[in-house]
């Protein structure tokens, strides 16, 4: 599976949203009753919109989708979901099916620019409004709206923390897989920090498989045995970080080596907060909120109220300290403690009821 893992910050269950969206769909007619406030085309629900996903598998995408569905329900938007199961070729054909199926707008969630761009253009040319998430299409498909979470932002947040924790010119390790867009973007920031802080990178391992955590644990384990002197390891994707952490524990090096990751989930919180866990800090966004945000962007675009073609959702830094101090054990508590995760103020409008998770 090549689902851009960097985004799989697995967080709260789809369940919340499922429940809520039930509630919301009851709310939908109500909102359309207040249709006076609703701009076209939402004054005449349901508005059919296709959601063409590169992958719906796994926690991240489940929640992304549910966030999207929940927000969509509040404004009478009906999502037809196509799921390519991380198969770029299938996503291409899904996109064609979507274009052919006569929807008025299409949301494209992840995918390869080379693969999707021509089809996105085909769609926009056909007068279909398109909003994409996490595909770089600004040059090739200027007519479409591009949304993304800022990987550079996330990486900077956590690496700044790491720098303050371990200081300059210390031996460090790096666990990452290049060739996957968001991981590459995080890599750029990493290279910069290594230079600026004169860190000595002792090893660079990492592989992307169907079982990232387990398989990378094996790699890092070997790497640690070969380089027992490292002080900190950066693994910019929580599956990689989990692998790293368990490798550190395999070698009982929790005291000497700390790990820094990106993304967070219930499981991650458990790992970060357990006794002398090496995982010191992570940076993340909430996929539910992102999904909802993308739908809002789509809605505004369809209503002609979106003034930009590029929307970036900010991330937040979550430290081990913060979690422990606030006795946070799962995502819901984290959201409670960090309302900014809900992104309610990003691309919003008064006729779009905000959703929280």
């Amino acid at each position: 599976s090549q689902s851009t893992p960097a985004d799989e910050s697995s967080s709260a269950a789809a369940a919340t949203s499922a429940a809520a969206s039930a509630a919301a769909s009851e709310a939908a007619p109500a909102s359309s009753a207040a249709a006076a406030a609703m701009p076209a085309p939402f004054d005449a629900p349901p508005v059919k919109v296709a959601l063409v996903q590169n992958s719906g598998a796994g926690d991240y995408f489940q929640q992304w989708t549910n966030g999207a569905k929940q927000q969509a329900a509040t404004i009478g938007m009906e999502l037809q979901v196509y799921d390519a199961q991380a198969d770029n070729a299938k996503q291409a054909t899904d996109m064609e099916t979507a274009i052919g199926s006569g929807v008025s707008a299409i949301i494209v969630d992840h995918g390869q620019a080379d693969t999707m761009c021509p089809l996105i253009v085909k769609a926009t040319d056909a007068g279909i409004k398109v909003t994409v998430y996490d595909i770089e299409i600004t040059e090739c498909a200027p007519a479409a709206v591009e949304t993304a979470q800022s990987d550079a932002d996330l990486a900077t947040l956590v690496l700044t923390q790491m720098a303050t924790d371990i200081g300059q010119s210390v031996p460090v390790g790096y666990v990452n897989v290049l060739g996957i867009a968001p991981l590459d973007r995080r890599d750029v920031v990493w290279q910069q920090f290594v230079k600026d802080n004169k860190w000595e990178q002792l090893f660079f391992v990492g592989k992307f498989t169907n079982a990232v955590a387990t398989d990378n644990a094996q790699l890092v384990d070997a790497a640690l045995k070969a380089n027992p002197t490292v002080k900190a390891i950066f693994a910019p994707y929580d599956e990689l970080t989990k692998g790293t952490v368990s490798a550190i524990e395999q070698n009982n090096m929790q005291k000497d080596v700390s790990a820094y990751g990106i993304d967070i989930s219930n499981a991650d919180i458990e790992v970060m907060t357990k006794a002398d866990s090496p995982w010191k800090a992570t940076a993340t966004t909430d996929p539910n909120a992102i999904g909802a945000g993308v739908v809002r962007a789509m809605a505004l675009e369809m209503a002609g109220q979106l003034d930009t073609k590029e929307v970036v959702f900010p991330g937040v830094l979550v430290t081990q300290q913060f979690l422990v101090d606030n006795k946070i054990t799962n995502m819901d508590e984290l959201r409670a403690a960090m309302p900014e995760l809900n992104l309610t103020n990003e691309v919003s409008a008064d006729w779009i009821p905000p959703v929280t998770f």
């Binding site: 070729a89 099916t97 199926s101 390869q112 620019a113």
Partner: protein
């Protein structure tokens, strides 16, 4: 086998038996049609011809790989390396155009050659080194999967990427190459045409030419074929070369569809292609691998998956569906069929 004798022995109720045979012969096609009607009736999107064509287009790659596998099943083997070969084709075509800035035509030639080469390697392992088909191709699969990543150091090849030496990749996917997947003949997508042509060719080769006949002979009893003057090693090997070429054709379509050297491409292909070819053996109650069966099998699985997607089932419903379809097909050809099914084993 002998159980089946016993079964036969209990026979006698001619009517029932004739009905059973009918079921074996047409049951499968009936199921396909019913499903199609059901989905069309319930989902307006499904009725839409675009949907139909993009469905056919979507299954084209699986169908072509399946046809390749059909050849190897005919000689009594099974090629597990088709997925890897398709993946290799994607990477190779991308490299040829992006790294070496070549025309699409060149890429096509390179890819087809590579496919044939892998086929030859399989043939070598199987007919010269006498390694059973299933095991040999499993080994090849691993090796090809790994080797293809070496020249690109494990990265997807996309135009404008930075090369090892820090320079920017000179080339890009040529527009003509991209047409392989994106061109239409009238309303019909080009890949669908390709499937049709390859199916007809395969059908003709296997049933109407002496080469096909000899391949079936090898599958039925290699030693007897040898003693009847069939050049067993040659035809056994040939089947794998053909399979390799077919797999790489599938890869070309994938590559043109994805528009970049996606390293993950083809990874999901193997099991689907095998499933399709197996389903194919039971279509029409032939009980042996055959071209039209495979094509129909691909169509059926396409219908089921597209139908479920449009009906909004989650992705994992598709796996369940695949499994069920496969088992239903197998029940038709093995449980109900009274004649011994002649898909000969793989090792």
């Amino acid at each position: 086998m002998s159980d089946q004798k016993a079964q036969a022995a209990t026979g006698g109720r001619e009517m029932a038996l004739r009905f059973q045979d009918g079921l074996v012969k047409y049951g499968f096609i009936v199921v396909t049609i019913l499903l199609f009607v059901y989905f069309s009736a319930t989902e307006e999107t499904f009725r839409n011809p675009n949907t139909l064509f993009s469905m056919l287009k979507f299954t084209s790659v699986v169908a072509i790989a399946g046809l390749g596998i059909t050849f190897t099943m005919v000689v009594g083997g099974l090629d597990l390396s088709v997925g890897a070969v398709a993946g290799l084709s994607v990477t190779l075509s991308a490299m040829t155009m992006v790294f070496y800035n070549q025309q699409g035509g060149v890429a096509i030639v390179v890819v087809l050659l590579a496919g044939a080469l892998v086929g030859l390697f399989n043939a070598f392992l199987i007919v010269i080194l006498k390694i059973p088909d299933l095991l040999a191709t499993l080994g090849t699969m691993f090796i090809v999967m790994g080797l293809k990543l070496v020249p690109v150091s494990g990265q997807s090849v996309s135009s404008g990427m930075t090369l090892r030496d820090g320079s920017i990749a000179p080339g890009k996917f040529t527009s003509d190459f991209l047409l392989i997947d994106r061109a239409n003949v009238g309303p019909v997508p080009f890949p669908v045409i390709v499937v049709l042509i390859l199916t007809i060719l395969t059908w003709f080769f296997l049933t109407r030419t002496k080469w096909g006949r000899m391949m079936y002979a090898i599958g039925a009893n290699p030693e007897a074929s040898r003693l009847a003057g069939v050049r067993v090693r040659f035809y056994h090997g040939l089947a794998y070369v053909i399979c390799g070429v077919f797999a790489s054709i599938g890869g070309l379509i994938l590559s043109s569809r994805i528009g970049q050297g996606d390293i993950s491409a083809g990874s999901s292909l193997l099991l689907d292609a095998v499933a399709v070819a197996l389903v194919g053996t039971s279509v029409l109650g032939l009980g042996r691998p055959n071209a039209w069966g495979t094509a129909l099998g691909a169509l059926l699985i396409g219908i089921v998956i597209t139908g479920l997607t449009i009906k909004g089932f989650p992705y994992y419903a598709q796996d369940i569906a695949k499994g069920v379809v496969l088992l239903v097909a197998l029940i038709f050809s093995f449980t109900l069929s009274r004649r011994k099914t002649r898909y000969v084993s793989a090792t």
